[in-house]
């Protein structure tokens, strides 16, 4: 397995091997799917849309509907306007969405298609039916990563729909806007539950709960019941505050909403693990919400579990990779569990990763290889040089885990080879309990596997 990977690390300036990121458009598509009655639409070659739909489907094990401009060579030379106009006309006629969310690709970006102009053309020529919307995000595949694309589509939701709303007196419960980050439907559900339980009316955008974890009913629904509605997006300006969960995936949308609609915002770490969730609950508390016993009890359960398992986690070496917001918060949680994060790595560009990681690790930062904008080939080499007791990351980690015989826990996006992850939260206190359970299973399964007959114990 991966037997061509040498232990010696050599400098590379051009060759990416085994990436820990993918391109912007897929993130934009995922975000767009969290709008109610929305059809994501890829303005580029057919392959992009096909690859994105396939990949998202493999993670969620759910239908992922999206359309494409199906560029040909002619369109690539003469521009994609006719394709986009025909695409919008056909998609509205055949699939009747409320919103079509267009994302660009490296192809349409390189030729410089002016999407707002084309949307304007579609509007003036009556292609967009009354009461329907076309929004777009520029998502050049050669810049940033899938996380950037997610962020860009969230920004577009704000730019297309949010306005300043002065009168906020109607609402009985104060409205809190939440940008949840590139997380699973179950995570969005859990974050909403926490915020609602302290008394807020929550507008979460995007919201894939109810879209990509829809029930089996025996009938296919092109647009499942979930998703943030256009009406909710238009009322973002009523929010008392916007919480952005994760600086990489969510901060920009909250900032733009602040600028456009004057809703104050706060950027929090993705609430993975105890400390980051504490800060999230703290932010709710700071907005005047009383924290209900239910949440306090759940936190207490988590702390109880942390006390119970600490001997199995203490000083265990862990390598973590994935999307930056996920990796940063999980690094903090592993530190809080007494583990040593030996290698942490993301493929997404952005200097903030190194800065934040150093901050989180504090006086222990020098024990950790912090790798931003790097790849899994390097991670494998680092692990060969400095072995770990546990690897945590996306499904792509299983090859390193097998090659180096390391216990492995799947976490983040994508998980292509297991089931149920989109239905079980890994955020919040509930998510932290789930993560401890998975990590301790992996560590203790390994202890059992490697123990001698006389050390093989019933009770651990």
């Amino acid at each position: 397995m991966l037997s061509q990977t040498p232990t010696k690390v050599s400098q590379r300036s051009a060759l990416r091997i085994n990436p820990a990121k993918t391109c912007q458009p897929i993130g934009a598509m995922y975000a767009a799917s969290g709008i109610h009655n929305c059809l994501p639409y890829s303005h580029g070659s057919q392959g992009c849309c096909s690859y994105h739909r396939s990949h998202l489907t493999r993670h969620f094990k759910e239908p992922f509907m999206a359309a494409t401009s199906s560029f040909t060579e002619g369109a690539s030379v003469f521009g994609g306007q006719p394709n986009l106009l025909q695409g919008l006309r056909t998609a509205f006629a055949a699939y009747d969405p409320d919103v079509i969310a267009v994302n660009t690709t490296c192809l349409s970006e390189t030729i410089g298609d002016d999407i707002p102009q084309i949307i304007g053309e579609a509007e003036s020529s009556g292609i967009i039916p009354e009461g329907k919307f076309v929004i777009h995000a520029n998502t050049p595949s050669y810049d940033g990563s899938h996380v950037t694309g997610f962020s860009n589509m969230c920004v577009s939701m704000v730019k297309y729909f949010a306005t300043r709303i002065e009168d906020s007196s109607e609402a009985s419960a104060p409205q809190l806007n939440i940008v949840p980050g590139f997380v699973d439907p179950a995570d969005m559900r859990e974050i909403r539950r926490l915020a609602e339980s302290v008394g807020f009316t929550v507008t979460m955008f995007p919201d894939t709960a109810g879209v990509l974890d829809a029930p089996q009913t025996g009938s296919f629904q092109m647009y499942p019941d979930g998703g943030v509605t256009v009406d909710e997006l238009r009322n973002l300006g009523r929010g008392v505050k916007t919480l952005a969960l994760g600086p990489f995936a969510s901060a920009e949308a909250a900032l733009q909403l602040d600028k456009i609609a004057g809703v104050p915002h706060e950027v929090l770490d993705l609430p993975v693990g105890i400390a980051a969730t504490d800060r999230f609950i703290g932010a709710l508390n700071a907005l005047g919400a009383a924290i209900p016993d239910e949440i306090t009890t759940q936190r207490g359960q988590l702390v109880d579990l942390m006390c119970d398992v600490q001997q199995h986690f203490y000083n265990k070496k862990v390598a973590i990779f994935g999307d930056p917001d996920h990796v940063l918060s999980l690094t903090e949680f592993c530190r809080d569990l007494g583990m040593i994060p030996v290698h942490i790595l993301t493929g997404t560009p952005g200097k903030a990763f190194g800065r934040k990681a150093t901050e989180i690790l504090g006086d222990k930062a020098d024990q950790t290889n912090i790798e931003g904008e790097q790849d899994l080939f390097l991670l494998h080499q680092l692990i060969k040089n400095q072995p770990v007791d546990l690897l945590v990351g996306t499904s792509y980690g299983k090859y390193i885990a097998r090659a180096e015989d390391i216990p492995f826990v799947r976490f983040g996006w994508p998980i292509l080879d297991r089931f149920g992850h989109a239905l079980i939260p890994s955020l919040g206190y509930a998510g932290a309990i789930q993560l401890i359970s998975k990590m301790s299973d992996a560590l203790l399964d390994r202890r059992d596997r490697d123990s001698t007959e006389w050390q093989f114990e019933l009770v651990l």
């Binding site: 990416r16 993918t22 580029g44 560029f71 056909t90 998609a91």
Partner: protein
């Protein structure tokens, strides 16, 4: 690498039991008769108009040409291999996917560098389930993903330097036997000359380095990429080495073209060929190493499994080296038996013929009890197939084995000849979208051309085994079955509602759409992570899999008990 086969001594008494005259009298060319449509099946002619109803006028007209009602005795023409309508929700992919993802990607010991933004290489990384059994002493890059990870800087200032550097770094780290390069959409637009970079790298590194201009926007689907891949392999690889003399003792030497070893199909095919005493020289390109493709011109027959993706290679090798090609189908027990018989009849050797019969008899004896048991549970239950460029045809053999009628089927990226038969290929007008895909001019190689059969023999073989012919999908489909090319999501959904199939065969993008309707969907691109389904053992796997799917208890839980009560 395929090992040279030496024939074990034939068991004389077993061979003597085969009635050669009876085998010679078998009809191996008449298309198989399809399982008739269920009596209550809707009348397809009434459906066409309905199916395109919601589309804008022009789209309606265009799509109607892709939908036809089958008549195996008088094949109607169908529109295929033309551009998909934007916005219609097609399952098609791009040229790059066909070139790198399908044809070149499975080669294990070549470093495949994708020149472009990260996504293209990332999505084609281990997602096609090409299995390979690589000896530990050999390099295997199947689990690796290589990309130049282009950024804004290269889009603006050009990416040739970064590509050249990436090739260099790949060489320095891995010292591979060869490196190939794949262009993605922006590369063509900014004008990077990937072939020049490859030429320079070849000089510098002294290993084969070659490039494919397979930008995603070329052609109308994956199909253009297959063609570009065939051209590149033919120009740069085939014929660059010679099969070692010790591997040339068996005259029954074949290549397997268009077999990508999804789920281990190629392993099962190789097992059967070996059992029959037929030597497999090269597989294009499942479980393949570069060297076997390089000396594949020393085979004496090219077998084509996936006609759509690799027919170009077969005809070019025929012209240059004199190797005839035979369309085969190893999907389905009956189809596999027929395929093995065709190969034996081509070589015209009594002992080979007898051995093939013995293998078929032994294998069918194991298949038959499973087939009968499953057939009793699935017979008559309707199936729909919408996949690929050959599987929608091949898999009908397996359903025929089980007595399941195919009510409607179509390909994702096939051409008219895959539907109607090879005879229409030369009549197809190449449109503007496909015109720029290079057609190589090939001539007989003055040194290496060797006619394997005389023109008279070939003529005879055309009549007796369909040599150099492919009759297409429609002659083997039932009268009245509906054929839909490049089906859209809307059409698929409506057809399912109309036909109420027991099973739909498609790909990952349709899988959960179909299953949300409470109907099992078998993925025929990736086999739902199962397989092999080729050959006799594969047939058994498939029968059991279909039995599980259509008879699974899970579907029964969809209505809640309280809904059931009130119903």
């Amino acid at each position: 690498m395929k090992k040279p086969q030496t024939l074990p001594a034939p068991p004389a008494e077993a061979l003597a039991t085969v009635d050669l005259a009876a085998v010679a009298a078998l009809d191996l060319v008449t298309p198989e008769t399809a399982v008739p449509l269920p009596q209550q099946a809707p009348v397809a002619t009434d459906l066409v108009e309905d199916l395109v109803k919601p589309y804008p006028v022009k789209v309606k007209r265009k799509r109607a040409k892709h939908i036809t009602v089958n008549d195996p005795d008088e094949i109607p023409p169908i529109e295929a291999n033309v551009r998909s309508t934007p916005g219609i929700i097609t399952t098609r992919g791009c040229c790059y996917a066909g070139c790198k993802g399908v044809v070149l990607g499975p080669i294990t010991d070549v470093i495949h560098i994708v020149h472009g933004p990260i996504g293209c290489s990332y999505y084609a990384w281990m997602t096609r389930r090409n299995q390979a059994d690589v000896p530990e002493s050999e390099q295997d890059f199947l689990k690796y993903c290589f990309s130049t990870d282009m950024t804004t800087n290269e889009i603006v200032f050009g990416g040739e330097k970064k590509l050249a550097q990436a090739v260099r770094e790949a060489y320095e780290i891995f010292h591979p036997k060869a490196i190939d390069i794949f262009s993605t959409c922006p590369v063509g637009l900014i004008g990077d000359d990937v072939h020049a970079v490859a030429r320079e790298a070849r000089k510098e590194l002294k290993i084969p380095v070659f490039a494919f201009s397979c930008e995603g926007y070329k052609g109308v689907s994956q199909s253009a990429g297959h063609h570009i891949a065939n051209n590149g392999l033919f120009k740069n690889v085939v014929g660059t080495e010679e099969l070692p003399a010790e591997a040339k003792t068996n005259p029954f030497r074949v290549n397997m073209l268009g077999e990508y070893n999804i789920g281990g199909d190629a392993f099962e095919i190789e097992r059967l060929l070996n059992a029959c005493g037929i030597q497999l020289v090269a597989t294009f390109s499942g479980n393949a190493q570069l060297a076997e493709l390089a000396h594949s011109q020393d085979a004496n027959l090219n077998l084509i499994q996936c006609h759509r993706s690799i027919n170009y290679m077969a005809t070019m090798m025929e012209t240059k080296y004199g190797i005839p090609w035979l369309k085969v189908n190893f999907i389905g027990a009956e189809a596999t038996a027929k395929t093995l018989r065709k190969i034996a009849r081509y070589f015209g050797d009594d002992e080979l013929t007898a051995r093939v019969e013995i293998v078929i008899a032994e294998e069918l004896a194991k298949v038959e009890p499973v087939r009968q048991a499953v057939r009793a549970r699935v017979e008559g239950r309707p199936v729909m197939l919408f996949v690929g460029g050959s599987r929608s045809h091949h898999y009908q053999s397996l359903f025929r084995d089980m007595g399941m009628p195919v009510v409607t089927a179509g390909y994702e990226f096939a051409h008219r000849d895959d539907y109607e038969g090879y005879q229409v290929a030369s009549t197809i007008k190449v449109d503007a979208d496909s015109r720029n895909i290079e057609e190589l001019t090939v001539e007989a190689d003055p040194e290496h051309y060797r006619a394997r059969k005389s023109p008279e023999e070939l003529e005879r073989l055309k009549a007796s085994v369909d040599i150099a012919d492919y009759k297409g999908m429609m002659p083997e489909m039932a009268k009245g079955a509906m054929v839909v090319d490049d089906i859209s999501h809307h059409e698929l959904e409506q057809l399912i509602e109309t036909y109420h199939p027991a099973l739909v065969c498609s790909g990952i993008k349709d899988k959960y759409v179909v299953e949300k309707m409470g109907i099992p969907c078998k993925q025929l691109h990736n086999y739902d992570y199962g397989g092999p389904y080729a050959g006799f053992r594969g047939a058994v796997n498939f029968y059991q899999e279909i039995d599980r799917m259509v008879n699974s208890p899970v579907w029964g839980f969809i209505p809640t008990p309280w809904e059931k009560q009130s119903a």
